[in-house]
């Protein structure tokens, strides 16, 4: 009898240890056939999406974020510099444009992939421009490691993907153009409602909450339009390639050699 009791207690102890281990280790389940078939019910976002740059230009003048005074002063300085032909080189180091600037001011195409529990955005630039948006119901981590694109969770409200992003590095620009922007300086929260607006136009309705540089949340809609022709498919876009040009070494091997650039981002022109 006593042996049974001991065995029972041991079993309970082991089971409780197992339960503890389970709460520590969350495993992403393998997708089921239903998970895959449910994807067919989502709106069709296939194809190549290009940004409407003319609208970006317009909003740089008509939809100014509610900057705090120091940020507003910097933006006005940058706008004057740009007008004078000395654009501030915000994005000249080949680091990703990051969130939210990718959505706000990019000139490059992207594609959007649906897989079970995930929406993935892939950009045609920087070599590593990528957003992973988890739609599997997970919460944000309590203390996410800051990254260029942050930690994004999403859910579908009808045909609209609602995305919540935190954990963006404080250095990421809150930019209104390629030459005017302020680092978000941390604690940024971005809410997006992404949806088709007509057959081949995608709208990203953004709300940017950046308490260290804005006096209140800022709303903007960014427009992308679709191409389906195969000749317009996304191509590789390794930004650092522009540091170099193809050449031969002394053995006749194909190599890259560094080339010179000006501070504004262009190659050094002949004098």
């Amino acid at each position: 009898m006593r042996l049974v009791k001991v065995l029972l207690l041991t079993a309970i102890a082991l089971a409780s240890l197992g339960a503890q281990a389970q709460t520590k280790e969350i495993v992403n389940p393998a997708p089921t056939a239903k998970d895959w078939s449910d994807i067919a019910k989502l709106p069709d976002w296939s194809g190549v999406w290009n940004p409407n740059i003319t609208d970006q230009d317009k909003q740089a003048k008509t939809n100014m974020p509610p900057w705090k005074p120091e940020a507003a002063e910097l933006i006005q300085f940058q706008l004057k510099e740009e007008k004078a032909g000395r654009p501030t080189p915000l994005f000249t180091n080949c680091l990703p444009e990051a969130m939210p600037a990718w959505m706000l001011i990019t000139h490059n195409a992207m594609e959007i992939l649906f897989t079970p529990g995930r929406v993935t955005m892939l950009g045609e630039s920087d070599g590593d421009r990528l957003r992973r948006i988890y739609t599997d119901g997970r919460p944000h981590p309590d203390d996410p490691d800051p990254t260029f694109h942050g930690h994004s969770i999403g859910h579908w409200e009808g045909e609209t993907l609602v995305v919540d992003t935190i954990g963006v590095i404080p250095q990421a620009w809150l930019a209104i153009s390629e030459a005017a922007g302020v680092p978000n300086n941390g604690d940024m929260h971005i809410i997006e409602r992404i949806h088709l607006q007509g057959k081949d136009v995608l709208h990203d309705d953004l709300e940017v909450i950046a308490p260290n540089v804005l006096t209140k949340p800022w709303k903007t809609t960014r427009i992308f339009f679709r191409q389906r022709a195969r000749k317009f498919d996304i191509v590789e876009g390794v930004c650092l390639e522009g540091y170099n040009k193809p050449d031969k070494d002394k053995y006749g091997n194909d190599i890259f050699v560094p080339i010179q650039h000006e501070v504004g981002g262009n190659r050094v022109p002949p004098k």
């Binding site: 409407n52 300085f77 195409a109 876009g237 002949p270």
Partner: protein
């Protein structure tokens, strides 16, 4: 205490200094260093094409003004992907040795560089644009097939 603006200007000066040492990298940048209100034409021969991200460049040896000695000029453009979508471009659309006429916005600095607007290949008469905003409509292939 230094203002944020003061710090940014100081950082900018340091950055400019580094740039003069050619350490600067580059990527997605504004193009107001080019005078977009001015259009200049160069006639000459393609010396080199750098079909690379993030910006394609073409070097042209040619003449801007009649009577001037020919010289080497640098033409900057957008990315290969954007150029393909702007219409007609490919890696081999313009090649070394091609005779060309190019319309461009010149650098404000007076150096021999510009932002290419349109290039015409003399032998075929074919013209290509590098205007990224020329493609801001969906389904361009449907327009082309009409």
């Amino acid at each position: 205490m230094r203002s944020l603006l003061g710090k940014i200007i100081a950082a900018g000066l340091i950055f400019t200094g580094l740039g003069l040492l050619n350490i600067s990298a580059w990527a997605h940048h504004s193009t107001t260093m080019f005078d977009h209100a001015t259009s200049v034409t160069i006639t000459g021969e393609v010396k080199e094409v750098q079909w690379t991200n993030p910006h394609v460049a073409i070097f042209i040896y040619g003449t801007v003004k009649d009577g001037e000695a020919p010289a080497l000029w640098l033409m900057e453009m957008t990315s290969p992907g954007n150029l393909i979508r702007a219409g007609g471009w490919s890696r081999n659309a313009v090649k070394k040795g091609d005779k060309v006429v190019v319309n461009f916005s010149p650098l404000r600095s007076g150096d021999k560089g510009g932002a290419l607007k349109k290039i015409t290949l003399v032998d075929s008469g074919k013209s290509l644009t590098a205007d990224i905003r020329a493609q801001e409509r969906p389904n361009l292939q449907e327009e082309e097939s009409k």
